[in-house]
Amino acid sequence: MANVDLSGEEIRRYGRHLIMPEVGMDGQKKLKAASILLVGAGGLGSPLGLYLAAAGVGRIGIVDFDVVDYSNLQRQILHSTKDVGRPKLASAKERLEGINPFVKIETHEMHLNSENALGLFAEYDIIIDGTDNFPTRYLVNDACVLTGKPNVYGSIFRFEGQASVFATKDGPCYRCLYPEPPPPGLVPSCAEGGVLGILPGIIGTIQANEAVKLIIGKGEPLAGRLLLFDALKTKFRELKLRKNPDCPVCGQHRTITSLIDYEAFCGVQAGWDTFTREEQYEITVDQLKQRLDKKDDLFILDVREPQEYQICNLNGYLIPLRDLPKRINELDTAKEIVVHCKVGGRSRQAVEFMKQAGFRKVKNLVGGIDEWAEVIDPTMPRY
């Protein structure tokens, strides 16, 4: 039994746990003795933090470096409107301590990287991956395997979510499932693709549930299974995951025995040259402003979705990226074309596609309309 005691106040607080044989006094003490590290205090980290604090996990560490933005409030329920502009860690700590003063909240304001990950992970029993990018996901996975800590995984995109538990003693890790990340630009981020605000709530609570089960040692963990959730259909599916004997980090013949450069690993993949950046195919918002002020004859192509165009636009010609292949004949190869989207990812794909289709005078607006709103036109709504 965990070597901690519950006060009278704690016993009252956790009564609904204590009367269930699956948790009971033993389980609640295990929760109090346990420590969890949340990587990310955003969409997934919000429900995770709230429920794990309420459940009485003794020590919760949170890694983040961001400040609360208005556009976070649609789904990041840890933070309130009054918190906009504050560091996420500050509002998270205040909120979680308000829910349960018996829980110790430790904040780590840092970019998780190959230098600091192993030392930080060593201080916690369980690591929960609530990040938003491939380099950090591979870093979290590898650091979990190397430190022997379970990795409670969740990921979301638009209306789809995934969850699993990786890197348990005999279970598969994230690299067993995906040995390599997709090239940058191929999979849109949530900032570009959007996400239903409730979806991280559903996936994050599934992760919290898995973490609690791991601590109390009851039930069947999601290890070896990938849970898929479709919020539009309200359908759960489950796929079998196997430990890959050839996995570079947890297999029999390991090639990764220490943390690597994850930005490089996720940035440049051998054999994938389609998305390389070339300066003659790029234009900055400042350059665009100058050219427009000079009344240069530029054709602005907007490859976002119609609902985004309604929010704000540069008076561009709208062809959503997915329609570009069948509507490319609407464009004139002789004209100088500036392509933009929200932050520059989709327009980069559009420029690549147009280059292959024979367009030479085509440029990607770096940073997209969001950069334009930030640098050139502060009256433009941002989303």
């Binding site: 990340p181 997709p182 900032a191 693709g193 990938l226 796929l239 995951l241």
Partner: protein, 94 residues
């Protein structure tokens, strides 16, 4: 001709006219995927590398089983089987 269903994940639906699933012809996973790419040519480079191999970040399942642990692209598929493309997604913190 045998046909079966391939489920298209959200990030790739932009290449299938937003269809969630496509019924393809073929007896094996590989034949079905080739058929899928013939119909929706923009998918080709997202699923296959230039030398014609399935990309490492694309996982294909027949029902709930990963084809890497079956007969890979030669895995035989029956009418009632559902083939899924499971891409990696990364969102969560932002």
């Amino acid at each position: 001709m045998m046909s079966f269903q391939i489920l298209i994940p959200t990030p790739l639906r932009q290449f299938t006219n937003n269809q969630e699933s496509v019924t393809v012809e073929g007896k094996s996973v590989g034949e079905g995927l080739k058929n899928l790419c013939t119909r929706h040519s923009a998918l080709q480079k997202h699923l296959y590398s230039d030398d014609g191999r399935l990309r490492n970040f694309v996982n294909i399942y027949v029902n709930d089983e990963d084809i890497r642990y079956l007969q890979k692209e030669a895995t035989q598929v029956a009418e009632k089987d559902v083939v899924s493309i499971i891409p990696s997604i990364a969102g969560g913190r932002e």
